[in-house]
Point group: C2
Chain length 392, copies 2
């Protein structure tokens, strides 16, 4: 015999982003690589008041085991806030998870047998692809344009593959592309999903961080058969360090997420759940989100303006109306991994695009995060990157 790992481990490697994050932790690097919220906006003084009140009012319960589905007042508040995305939810439709990342892992665990198909945008969120890979799916990538997934391509895929277990999409300010799915396509996607009876995992970490215009409705608004599994998180609207997100799904499906949560870690932190709940009771989270949006919107504008000025004309880029990321496309002959090596010599970092394509290829892209660098560094970093690009 001897030590043998499960077959699933063969396809699992450390995330390139996480490895990069280590590299870019050097303080002199201007990093557009991570997906970090701006730490200077964290409500630290407010959290101090919150912690004191939670421990004063509810200390024993906040340090004890609690129910797997999550703290009821917190679930009630999440349900109520769903109105922002255009639908009604009830606390009983909600499971609290360790960030939306845990919702992604559970989605694959619940649906995927080896070889089953997951349909996703091309490119798609690396963290989701990593989580899904542990369950050995086949990824079918649907090309995108500026309005998101191209529906004719989705239709073809649904007609072609008989073992599609779910469609994975980030309709709002997609990671990595920054693109947003149009209203028309949201409706069409749900028509197709409904016709085929295919669940849709809608990952929505950024939807509330819209810099202009109205918040777009969730796919749940066009979901007569309750096929949408919506993943949300406090990571981008409050603080990722709390590790709190949620799943909203039909009772039949949510029950599966609950069972999986029990086995995975029993429950989320009783204390963290009470703290986030108390934050929303004591303070105005909507005002907090407005503050974040303003800062990120300014940073995004500055990044786009600087790219227009400093990047060669052959490079194009998206102009997101929300979220944390822009997406640059270089001429075909430029390998962004090579560009990164040169950029790191200039103390600038980003994530090469190829890692966001589950089946590889497409080396001529870069994901650029604008949320966590101050404005002077954005100008300086993009300028350096432009020079490096031109030198290639």
């Amino acid at each position: 015999m001897g030590m043998k790992f499960a077959d699933r481990m063969e396809g699992m490697k450390g995330s390139a982003i996480r490895e990069l994050l280590k590299l870019t932790e050097q303080p002199d690097i201007i990093s557009f690589a991570g997906g970090l919220p701006a730490p200077e906006l964290f409500p630290i003084e407010e959290m101090k008041q919150v912690c004191m009140k939670v421990l004063d009012q509810d200390g024993r319960a906040s340090l004890q085991y609690s129910a797997t589905d999550g703290y009821l007042p917190l679930r009630e508040k999440i349900a109520k806030r769903s109105a922002k995305l255009g639908f009604k939810a009830d606390a009983k439709d909600i499971l609290i998870t360790a960030g939306s990342q845990q919702g992604l892992d559970f989605s694959a665990k619940i649906f995927i047998n080896k070889g089953d198909v997951i349909i996703c945008e091309s490119p798609s969120y690396l963290g989701a692809l990593s989580a899904f890979r542990a369950y050995q799916p086949k990824f079918v990538e649907i090309p995108m344009d500026e309005d998101g997934m191209i529906m004719e391509e989705l239709e073809k895929a649904l007609d072609t593959y008989t073992n599609v277990k779910f469609i994975y999409t980030i309709p709002d300010f997609q990671n990595p592309s920054g693109r947003t799915m149009s209203l028309e396509r949201r409706k069409r996607l749900m028509e197709l999903a409904t016709k085929h009876g295919i669940p849709v995992v809608e990952d929505n970490p950024y939807g509330e961080l819209r810099f202009e215009g109205e918040i777009m409705p969730s796919l749940k608004c066009f979901d007569p058969n309750n096929l949408v599994i919506l993943l949300g998180t406090f990571s981008k609207i409050l603080a990722p360090g709390m590790r709190l997100g949620w799943v909203i799904a039909s009772p039949e499906v949510l029950q599966k997420y609950n069972v999986v949560k029990q086995g995975a870690d029993l429950q989320c932190s009783s204390m963290a759940q009470r703290e986030v709940n108390m934050f929303m009771e004591m303070f105005d989270i909507e005002a907090h989100i407005e503050k974040i949006k303003k800062v990120y919107g300014n940073r995004k504008n500055l990044m786009i303006e600087t790219m227009k000025k400093e990047f060669p004309e052959s490079t194009t880029f998206t102009n997101p109306v929300g979220g944390l990321f822009a997406w640059a496309t270089f001429p075909k002959e430029i390998d962004a991994a090579v560009l990164l090596k040169k950029a790191l010599e200039q103390k600038v970092a980003f994530v090469p695009g190829e890692t966001f394509y589950p089946n590889g290829g497409n080396a001529n892209h870069a994901r650029l995060n604008y949320s966590c660098m101050p404005e002077d560094k954005i100008v300086e970093g993009i300028t350096r990157l432009g020079k490096t690009l031109k030198a290639m």
Copy 2:
């Protein structure tokens, strides 16, 4: 097509314990069913000071994303405390997990293909069995006596099955039986594991909660080939509501746990990790553990004395020297699930033993938790249970 779940979901049901916990949350129930620490011992005032200091000194980092492997000062303290279990560890050997439950889930994810064998004690911890079941193993149960797993039976199993992926054991104050593996058997178990090159998942949530005698050495003390994967947790020595545990393993194996952690939830709460670390800097966790041990030891003694007085002579029970649970064995004709129904009419709860046997059977047992009921309720509850038993 249509909504289809993965095959693994067929074997996964909600935990009987978690469902019971809901029932027994009624305030008039005397519950020996859960595995809850005594909430009156939680260091609430200390945690208030801890939270303030963490947010004052390190507010931004405690609310931000952080490294997957965990907060270095916390890992250093865990490494240092390993000396209590008789071995040396280094911070780099440690991954922080969401309780030891997450370590159990990851162990199965990393090692188990469908049909692979997990060897475990008979009976064994229900939460582990549930976590493992998601990966569709075959469970081979090894009978126990008062000194733990019977080594001749383990040897037979290792000689019989060619696809054993790991041995799962709780050597100290086992859940559910309360039994402790003798020193001699620890050495023998590791001889056998070493001979066959089989990893050993040592689950040690209770080892430090010893009421009398010396703390027993971890299996890691007899592990020349670094086969032991040790799971620890702050749940029983500090507070389960924080959801913080750890894995200690060889570099090759720990790297797998790290990759799986990335996909599962990226990292544990940055804030909770800093809080537990700060608790250990500001206060004496060893003194806190002494306080817990004293209270639990008294409760255990009282439960055993009352069982001796009130239970029929045909019922036997273990007399644990640490941990949270005692284990009662009734005459073969008594079904503990029936007993539970009758006991609930008398407002007393426990967990019927059958759920702890992965392959079923053995209905004539009960797990009795003594850590979280005050002393008068222990006497009253055991007395009522004795009357119910005698009436059967």
